[in-house]
């Protein structure tokens, strides 16, 4: 049954669950998209060039150490087993070996630490970019997205970028240097082995790219699944009481199961590609190593006469055999890190959908042309607002002078809240312009001039006091107490064991609707702005409290511009002017 109404194939299940083929199509069709993501990642790496180069250099030194170590080991084996040299002449190679070990251990440490630094720095900067972007997008846009999904992007997907910077980028440099050095070293010792290296080496990146072709889209698919899972879970966790009320909680398990299963499948799809590619490359390098082993082995036995096989010594044979796997190691590592790159591309796609999003809120930077001949404090100039096809406000012309007391009335759905949102700069008008003090409105500017109490005020995690002092955390104790008293917060806070310092949960859990509203009003009282916007301030209040509140509003906001969206005749009658909206139009 639940399958029916939360069916994932239902086209109204908005966060679309893409199949792997859809995804492949997405990236195929938009090869350009993958390139955009790749370019963006490159762009981000510019600030951390230094640690990346350092991490690579350290690893290259380590690789050189491996070469020296192999040579010393081979020399020692020959000296002990074949040449049977005395201890005295073994001392130097033993010391060299010990020295190399010490140098290499520093390299192992340095490589890991330096790489991480690069990734951490980039992640911090991307989180900052995202936070700044949320601001420019504005509340209307943010509300379109599920908070659980946004948190998955900020946390998990930003973290998924780490290995691209800490491992893949340094490895790219390493691969460009280390194998070449090893070929140069091997060539004069045994040119056949050198040639084997030279021809098999480049095959590794080719295979890596071939096998890893679908990796980016698989990763994108997995990130989508993860974000969707987070968004969905948060929504259902918050609505669990309602689900339970309708006896749907147990059935919801089916959907949860389905989503968790989908996430597992997507994760496995990513892993299958990664495992397959590392298996193929491991096999490939094993075959190459075996080729070297058989060549030098048979050479030692005198069974093969090609190239320098006959002159090969045990020491040389051992050296190239020890070096062969080390030659392939950085290449194989790159193949593993290639999946870090794919993961980063997938995450970058999700991050970029936010960073590239056009803001619907009015721009905070472009001031637009100001109206110097300001006729009034607030002016709506032929303002219209559409949500997709649906027109919610039509041709609003409105002037409000400083100090006016206005009731904004209209049926629910008439556009009152949208009008207030436009004035607050939360959303941009589709047509027309809104001026505040003669300047085009934007969110930052509006927030300075306006104190607003919305219909569903949000209570943040923290104490009642912190919630009241939201606009001014440094407000004096007395001001907070005054605001609390004016809004009637003290009536219930005094009953709580810790008074105003009582911690309250999100969405005001533990508080009734009326109590939440009072805290929100106290916020407005504390803010002391020139313009006061109240959206249904008397909802959730009984008659006695309502009369008391209106008296307080009259007294505290006597010299302010006051706009109250309301249905309450008692409130409407108290206001000097009435603005009526009907189906998005002003009624004159």
């Amino acid at each position: 049954m639940v399958m029916y109404f939360f069916n994932s194939s239902d086209k109204w299940q908005k966060p679309v669950q893409l199949s792997e083929t859809d995804n492949q199509a997405y990236f195929d069709k938009n090869k350009a998209r993958e390139k955009v993501c790749a370019r963006w990642l490159k762009e981000q790496s510019k600030t951390v060039r230094k640690p990346i180069t350092l991490a690579a250099s350290v690893a290259i030194i380590n690789g050189l150490g491996v070469t020296v170590q192999s040579a010393a080991l081979a020399f020692l084996m020959q000296a002990i087993i074949i040449d049977k040299l005395p201890w005295a002449s073994l001392m130097t190679p033993f010391l060299v070996l010990a020295g190399v070990f010490i140098v290499r251990s520093f390299c192992v440490y340095g490589h890991q630490v330096l790489g991480f630094e690069a990734g951490a720095k980039v992640r911090a900067s991307i989180r900052q970019q995202l936070l700044a972007k949320f601001l420019t997008l504005g509340p209307a846009e943010i509300k379109q997205r599920q908070s659980g999904e946004l948190s998955a992007i900020m946390l998990e997907q930003v973290d998924a970028l780490e290995n691209y910077f800490s491992r893949y980028l340094p490895q790219q440099i390493i691969v460009g240097v280390l194998p070449i050095i090893m070929i140069i070293v091997v060539m004069p010792i045994n040119w056949v082995v050198g040639l084997i290296f030279l021809f098999t080496g480049p095959l590794v990146p080719i295979f890596m790219a071939l096998v890893g072709m679908g990796a980016a889209s698989a990763n994108r698919s997995q990130f989508l699944a993860m974000a969707r899972m987070s968004g969905y879970f948060l929504d259902r966790l918050q609505g669990l009481p309602t689900l339970k009320l309708f006896g749907q909680a147990a059935q919801e398990l089916n959907t949860i199961n389905q989503i968790a299963g989908g996430f597992r499948e997507k994760t496995m799809a990513v892993l299958r590609i990664a495992f397959l590619s590392s298996a193929i490359l491991e096999f490939f390098s094993a075959v190459a190593v075996a080729l070297v082993a058989v060549y030098v082995g048979l050479g030692l036995l005198g069974q093969i006469h090609f190239g320098p096989a006959e002159q090969i010594s045990f020491r040389e044979a051992l050296f190239v055999l020890l070096l062969a796997p080390e030659f392939f190691l950085p290449l194989r590592q790159l193949a593993i890190n290639y999946h870090d790159r794919a993961a980063a591309l997938g995450a970058a796609d999700a991050i970029l959908t936010i960073l590239e999003k056009d803001a619907d809120a009015p721009d905070t930077l472009s001031a637009g042309k100001s109206r110097l001949d300001k006729c009034s404090l607030i002016e709506f100039n032929t303002v219209s607002k559409f949500y997709a096809q649906r027109q919610v406000l039509t041709d609003i012309n409105l002037c409000i002078a400083a100090g006016e007391k206005i009731a904004l009335v209209g049926e629910s759905g008439a556009g009152k809240t949208t009008l207030l949102n436009l004035l607050l700069g939360f959303e941009a008008a589709t047509e027309g312009q809104i001026y505040l003090n003669g300047l085009p409105v934007n969110c930052e500017y509006a927030a300075k001039a306006i104190a607003w109490v919305g219909q569903n005020a949000y209570i943040f995690h923290g104490s009642i006091k912190e919630n009241i002092a939201l606009a001014d955390p440094d407000a004096s104790e007395q001001r907070i107490i005054n605001a609390a008293q004016a809004a009637g917060v003290n009536e219930f806070s005094e009953q709580l064991s810790e008074g105003l310092l009582t911690q309250i949960g999100e969405r005001g859990y533990g508080l009734s609707g009326g109590q939440v509203q009072r805290i929100a009003l106290a916020r407005a009282f504390l803010k002391n702005a020139d313009i006061i916007l109240l959206d249904e301030p008397t909802a959730n209040l009984d008659a006695t409290n309502k009369t008391a509140l209106l008296a307080v509003i009259d007294q505290l906001f006597a010299d302010k511009t006051l706009i109250i969206a309301t249905h309450d005749p008692l409130v409407i009658n108290r206001m000097a002017r009435q603005i009526t909206l009907r189906q998005g139009r002003l009624v004159l």
């Binding site: 049954m1 002990i80 087993i81 049977k84 033993f94 070996l97 070990f101 440490y109 890991q112 630490v113 991480f116 900052q128 949320f134 601001l135 509340p139 997205r145 599920q146 908070s147 946390l155 998990e156 929504d235 009481p241 309602t242 339970k244 009320l245 006896g247 749907q248 949860i256 968790a260 597992r264 892993l271 397959l276 298996a279 096999f283 030692l300 036995l301 055999l321 649906r390 629910s412 607050l424 939360f426 509006a446 306006i450 569903n456 005020a457 949000y458 943040f460 995690h461 939201l470 606009a471 955390p473 064991s497 999100e506 009734s512 609707g513 109590q515 929100a520 909802a539 009984d542 409290n545």
Partner: protein, 559 residues
Amino acid sequence: MKDLWFFLKLFKPHSGWLLGGIILSLLTAFAAIALLTLSGWFISASALAGLVVIDGNVLAFNFMLPAAQIRALAITRTLGRYGERLVTHDATFRVLAGIRSWFFQQLIPLVPGRLSVMRSGDLLSRMTADIDALDSLYLRLLAPAIVATIGVTAVTILLAFYAPVISLATGLMLVVASVVVPWIFNRLGRSGAEQIVVLAANFRVRQVDMMQGFADLLANQAYERFSHFLQQFSDLMLNTQQQNNRLSAISSTITFLLAQITVLMALVLGAILFKESLLSGTDLALVVFCVLAAFELVTPLPVALQMLAKLQKAAQRIRQVTEMSPTAPRHIQVEVLPERYDLQLNNVSFRYPDQQNWVLKNISLVIPQGSKIAIVGVSGSGKTTLLHLLMRYYDPDQGNVLMAEHNLKQLDADQLMTCFGVLSQSSQLFAASIKQNLLIAKPNALAIELDAAIQAAGLDKFISYLPEGLDTWVGESGVKVSGGEARRIALARLYLKNAPVLILDEPTEGLDSDTERDVFKALANFARDKTVIMVTHREAGLGLVDVVYSMEQGVLSKL
């Protein structure tokens, strides 16, 4: 550890696969060691054989067999590792997916009473990130530990056949690398590993809080402050990760150094034995290469144990929630739902857990089936709490609540819920279409029933404005519809559910007077044969009821 054991047991249904995974990874590990050992032996045997040939004595040396063995081992290692990874990861993620729905299932009896104190962002972290962290329980901890134990023993025994001294030294070093070093780094890493779980959870809580209260932050010029704070949190998280990374870099360095020292030691000891003719040349190469390869067995352990605390913390956080006792515990022997819906409160007193004040004081009230009552009173007087007791969100501290002479405690909680239709001051809408939101009340509702409910709730006009009609998406918590529209959707749900007892908690709050009149007119019609229990502070709607009570500071009196 108890928590880890608990989750380990959840892996049981997949134990066949997991055991297979361990066997495959043992096979892989042995193939890898044998590959290097055999190669070393092969080369040195070839060299020595070659020397002998040069000396003029023809020595029969079957080079084809070891060469074939080397190839076979290379293939075994590759295929083994691929198969092992596929099998173990698949089994692990199956378990995790199962744990996720299990977790959700455990939450159901905990709402709304118990979970109201928890942040939903935190719950989300537990349901996603913390459960994800459990993947390392088998993949990074259990499987490598078992493989290392068996592998180290086998290598030590093998070496003992060739050179007991080297076997002893190597075994000792392997134990240091697989037990002592991991133990030390477990100690050193504990706080950092735990912290990373807690920090990430707090980060998510903060961020969800910010996103859901976004408009209030902007309007109060507080966004900058909050995002700065979140940024600091992110920095703290990165710092902790950095410290953890440093520590794991040190532990890998130490393991690396141990491996190298052991090789050096084996070489020196081997050389001594060789010079005293206790070890042949080919066996010397075999031993050195074997030691070189054996350390692969223990390299994953120090980091796994360093992050063990992360795993423990995550397991503990999951269990913390699932071990909570519901505010209304399930009765062992559940009685079937009575046929009648007469409700009765007998001397009920109640206060919320961990709170001093009594919210309800000695309340007695009889609500026969079909009667219609209202309770009026100022906000905070305990009206809503009384409703919650009737629906058994909580059990009373004193007295009892009865339905048709049956104590609510003895009824099945899910069945009890089918009796109540609720319309309250806050209507939870889901991130889904309007239609899906309506169907929650009756998943198999016919189109006609939907239409009727929409008509009755006065939603038809609103829906006709929408280009996508019923299929319009109402975002998270239904943010894209106005308060009045959300209430009408909730009203339509009430119609669809068609329960015998209507609980109306400030049903018309925030509606304009026209809409309010509509709603009450519709309710009066709908509620004709139902029980109505309404809580309100408004005059309107009182015409719907026969008896009005007043609630004052937890004391109920008839008006």
